[in-house]
């Protein structure tokens, strides 16, 4: 056994070291030389405040009693930390921008800075945490007693001043007051405290690992030997396999631990409030799970050694100490004691700090600020009062914890209190998590959900525990509320036979979530709630929000300054206003009192007294608070706006693509037109050349005969002159036609549209062509009936069309030959021509029984000079190649169409469709 004095001295030295460390850190931070404190490693280690004495001693006890279930306590936070990208990052980002001071502040700020929510959450947190704090005291005294021997009692049963718990409590209170309430800084961070708990995290891991390694290699011979020992004892089966029906408890403890990693007030404090850089999360996300895994690795070895080599009946919660002691290694036992002490003190420090902030900001400050002392025009300085409140709260919390510890003595095993405390913290989870993802969650919903969850937690988890210990509610638990068996706390609605923890968590969380969701859907949020919910839910959207402009308030700078001075002290107030005035670009120290300044001041106040109190303080001096609907909608629509922007971009790029496609098409058309123009020019010159050449050569012959003296006969001369005249006429005709078609194409041609008889015009055209037909021995006929076919057209142009078509029909017919039918060309009515009034168009066909047009030329015959297919009839070369294009142009200009209806061995049919005169009249 170690001497009491020695252990006390070592413990006192250890605590003194903590004070020193915190003091040095604070000094260095003041000098701005504490880069190490602001490192991700220290941040991660500070998260390890999660591992309390409940881990240090209780995890081994839990493993010895319940087997592998203890792992869920460390796997749960692992899952949450691994999901930092989804949840923790968002919480940290929000807390940063909203200057959140605690979990109560966070939830209240989300639901419209509601004072009732922050007060309720604070109360719940205090009720859930006090037993947990007392548990730490119990662990310290129990470990102290184990170390110095049970000769004299130093626990809760002993004389007050002999009680180790008292001294631990007093030194912890001194520590937290010294380093947790030094001043009301610009932020709610406490570098001294963080440094101390980071250091404690290293100590507890090292000392736990030392005991674990001793169990593995000092007592046993490695893992193989250890598990062989465990396998030899069937009572130890739970240490390497799951018991029957472990599933529900496994899942529930996993859930509780995961939620506890965010919702326990102390975890929220270190993870979110004390976070100095969002990027530290990226390191903590894997490093903290690694810490948890390392500490878990040693639990089972210690438990196996404790169960197999220590005398039966020992307290498994103290195996960490009793294993080294029984092996005679008192040095190792002392290290283990220091590790347990560090685990306990770090928890007590952070928990009491977090709770004191919550109590002073959310319970005391609203009451004090309502009173005359702090609200009147001559109100006194509040910053000192706030610090005093915080210090008193710390004393109060620790006193409560100490009293609870004295009253309960050695009751429940460590683990069960821990899990019930976790379950109470988990009641914050629905309001917290739904709050940052579901914009529709309302203040009433959150309030009702919290109340429901907490009530059911008290009824199904706390009451049975108290009844088991024989303190209270025994009748209630045995018979149910009002004697109704169906309402028994441990078998609500007849759910008997469940594990009490699973039962309580199931009912409390489902009640919490259901009430939150249903009430939220039934109520509607106030404008300030809508504003806050939009800010919280969209916190990860990039870009800065113009929140400042959303709340329209007016206040005088003087009032704002005095308020700030009262709450934050003269020095801070001066700094805040001077800095803001500078940012506004003003020479004096008084900024203009615009809404952004009021919002800024409110945020500064919130960093000290919490969002709800800050809001009520500012509301008292600011007038005419209205939320600009436009600004609100703008913020709410921020997401939609982002979507709209990206859609607009998408549309623009689509439009660009379409335009590019159109441009490509136009370019291709232009190229084709260009080629067509070149073709046209070369054809025109070719067409012009042929008559020119013949005119020139015949005129040369005529001129040359004078010189040569070989006179031509007059008949020859006459023939040559005729050829020259014909060719000149052809040339003229060709030029006329080219001019004609270009006039028509450019729309310059003049038209004389009138009601004419198409049949009459066709007959005239046939008469005109009869000479050519007789020459080519082609039979011409008209079959249009006796009735006139009234169309709206220019008579001369229409005749030109028929003449052109008939001329083609004659020229391209096969020559008369034996064995072939007699060549014919005729004009007849098309199928639509039968009822000229109905379709608006009259159809006439110009047909022949010639050889037809080859497939590859059916389209090109309508292009200029495309006179391609073999001319068989008539005079070779007589066509200008413009007949069909001109005809088509004429018919189109008249509002009709000219097409090749069919062609083949039996001949070709050209269809001329013209607007009927009735249709014209109707227009």
């Amino acid at each position: 056994m170690l001497a009491t004095e020695f252990v006390v001295t070592v413990a006192a030295l250890y605590l003194g070291l903590l004070f020193f460390l915190a003091f040095v850190t604070e000094k260095r931070v003041e000098r701005g030389a504490a880069r190490f404190i602001a490192s991700p490693l220290v941040y991660t280690l500070s998260l390890a405040v999660y591992c309390t004495s409940w881990t240090f001693f209780g995890a081994v006890g839990s493993a010895a009693r319940n087997g592998l279930e203890f792992l869920t306590i460390y796997l749960g936070p692992t899952v949450v930390l691994l999901g930092w990208w989804i949840l923790l990052r968002k919480l940290v980002r929000i807390s940063r921008s909203q200057r959140i001071t605690s979990i109560a502040d966070f939830i209240s700020a989300r639901y419209g800075k509601s004072a009732s929510i922050s007060a309720l959450v604070t109360l719940m947190a205090v009720i859930g945490s006090i037993p947990y704090i007392s548990l730490q005291l119990k662990a310290v005294t129990a470990s102290f007693e184990a170390l110095v021997g049970a000769a004299a009692s130093h626990g809760p049963g002993s004389d007050l001043f002999a009680d180790t718990g008292l001294w631990v409590t007093i030194s912890m209170a001194a520590f937290v007051i010294l380093f947790g309430t030094r001043n009301l800084g610009a932020d709610q961070r406490h570098p001294g405290v963080v440094a101390a708990i980071a250091f404690e995290s290293v100590i507890k891991l090292l000392s736990f690992a030392a005991v674990g390694l001793f169990a593995l290699y000092g007592v046993s011979e490695g893992a193989r030997d250890l598990f062989a020992r465990a396998a030899a004892d069937t009572d130890l089966a739970h240490l390497y396999s799951f018991p029957e029906g472990f599933e529900s408890r496994w899942a529930v403890t996993l859930f509780l631990a995961g939620m506890a990693a965010i919702c326990l007030p102390r975890q929220f404090q270190v993870t979110v409030v004390e976070n100095s850089d969002e990027r530290h999360l990226a390191t903590a996300a894997w490093l903290f799970p690694l810490y948890l895994m390392l500490i878990s690795l040693f639990v089972v070895p210690i438990a196996i050694v404790g169960l197999t080599s220590l005398p039966a009946g020992g307290n498994p919660d103290l195996y960490v100490l009793t294993i080294p002691l029984s092996a005679g290694r008192e040095d190792l036992a002392l290290i283990a004691f220091i590790g347990g002490l560090s685990a306990a003190t770090s928890m007590v420090i952070v928990a009491s700090l977090a709770l004191s902030i919550m109590i002073s900001n959310h319970l005391v400050a609203p009451l004090l600020l309502r009173g005359a002392l702090f609200s009147g025009p001559n109100a006194s300085d509040f910053s000192g009062t706030l610090l005093l409140t915080r210090r008193l709260s710390i004393v109060g919390i620790l006193l409560l914890g100490f009293l609870y510890y004295r009253a309960t003595g050695t009751g429940n095993p460590l683990a069960s209190i821990g899990l019930i405390s976790f379950a109470s913290a988990a009641q914050f989870a629905p309001a917290l998590i739904l709050g940052v993802y579901w914009q529709r969650a309302t203040k009433q919903g959150a309030l009702a959900g919290l109340l429901a969850g907490f009530a059911v937690w008290g009824y199904t988890l706390l009451a049975p525990t108290l009844a088991d210990a024989g303190w209270a509610f025994e009748g209630l638990v045995a018979e149910g509320l009002w004697g109704i068996a169906l309402l028994r706390p441990d078998a609500l609605f007849g759910m008997a036979g469940w594990d009490p923890l699973v039962h309580g968590v199931f009912w409390s969380i489902s009640a919490n979530v259901t009430v939150l969701v249903v009430v939220s859907l039934l109520t509607s949020p106030s404008p300030i709630e809508s504003l806050q919910s939009a800010l919280f839910v969209n916190a990860l959207q990039p870009g800065e929000r113009q929140v400042e402009g959303a709340l329209h308030r007016s206040a005088t700078t003087r009032d704002l300054y005095r308020l700030t001075q009262r709450i934050l002290g003269a020095e801070r107030a001066y700094q805040i206003f001077r800095d803001y005035a500078r940012r506004q670009g003003r020479a004096d120290h008084l900024p203009a009192p615009d809404p952004p300044l009021i919002a800024y001041v409110e945020r500064q106040l919130a960093s000290s007294v919490g969002a709800a109190s800050a809001r009520s303080l500012v509301s008292r001096i600011a007038e005419g608070e209205t939320i600009s609907l436009d600004a609100l909608i703008a913020i709410l629509d921020e997401t939609q706006q982002a979507i709209r922007t990206s859609r607009a971009l998408e549309r623009k790029s689509q439009e660009l693509q379409e335009t590019a496609a159109q441009l490509r098409e136009a370019n291709a058309q232009l190229k084709a037109l260009d080629k067509m123009k070149d073709d046209f020019l070369s054809r025109v010159s070719h067409e012009l050349r042929t008559p020119m050449t013949s005119i020139r050569s015949f005129s040369e012959i005529l001129t040359d005969q004078q010189k040569d003296g070989a006179p031509l006969s007059p008949v020859q001369v006459q023939r040559f002159l005729t050829i020259i005249r014909d060719e000149s006429e052809r040339l003229t005709r060709l030029l006329d036609e080219i001019l004609d078609i270009s006039r028509m194409e450019s729309g310059e041609a003049t038209w004389q549209i009138e009601t004419v008889d198409a049949a009459e015009i066709a007959r005239k055209a046939v008469d005109t062509m009869s000479g050519l037909a007789a020459q080519a021995r082609v039979e011409l006929s008209v079959d249009l009936g006796a009735r006139p076919i009234w169309v709206a057209a220019d008579a001369d142009r229409l005749k030109q069309v028929f003449v052109n078509l008939l001329s083609n029909a004659i020229k391209y017919n096969h020559p008369p030959a034996p064995g072939l039918p007699r060549p014919k060309a005729w004009v007849t009515l098309g199928p639509r021509g039968q009822r000229p009034g109905s379709g608006g168009l009259v159809e006439l066909h110009v047909c022949d029984n010639g050889p037809g047009i080859p497939d590859n030329q059916r389209e090109s015959i309508f292009t200029k000079f495309a006179r391609g297919w073999q001319e068989t009839g008539g005079e070779r070369g007589a066509g200008s190649g413009l007949g069909l294009p001109i005809s088509r142009q004429i018919v189109q200009s008249l509002g009709g169409e000219l097409t090749l209806a069919r062609t083949g061995r039996e001949g070709s049919v050209f269809a001329v469709r013209l607007p009927a005169a009735e249709a014209l009249a109707a227009q």
Partner: protein, 114 residues
């Protein structure tokens, strides 16, 4: 998105890989973020029944129960994956932030949708 993509491709690859894939490689920010979001869910699935019950067997692997090996194995694996992802995400975040300021100064403070 539309405007950030070319920026991402311009920046050097943090791991020095992807050079061989050249311009066809999509910026993997989306993929990284999805992986970071799915990691906790994946871990949750494998440490809950029924998966975990599969490894609840009476067999030892070099003297250590299979269940212990399984739990600590997936735990370590998840930590490893998270560490790798976190490093790259952080890297990317910083580049993204740098790119954003660049963009903001370039086009007069226009926000880009994420």
């Amino acid at each position: 998105m539309v405007s950030r993509r070319p920026l991402d491709e311009r920046l050097p690859d943090p791991e020095g890989r992807g050079g061989s894939e050249g311009g066809t490689r999509r910026p993997d920010s989306r993929r990284l973020r999805d992986m970071a979001s799915l990691l906790p869910a994946a871990l949750l699935v494998v440490i809950l029944p029924p998966y975990i019950s599969v490894f609840d067997q009476d067999s030892l692997l070099s003297g250590i129960p299979l269940l212990h090996l399984y739990i600590f194995g997936v735990w370590a694996l998840a930590i490893l994956v998270c560490g790798l992802l976190a490093r790259r995400l952080l890297h990317q975040e910083m580049q993204g932030a740098a790119g954003q300021t660049e963009e903001r100064t370039a086009d007069g403070g226009r926000r880009e949708p994420d």
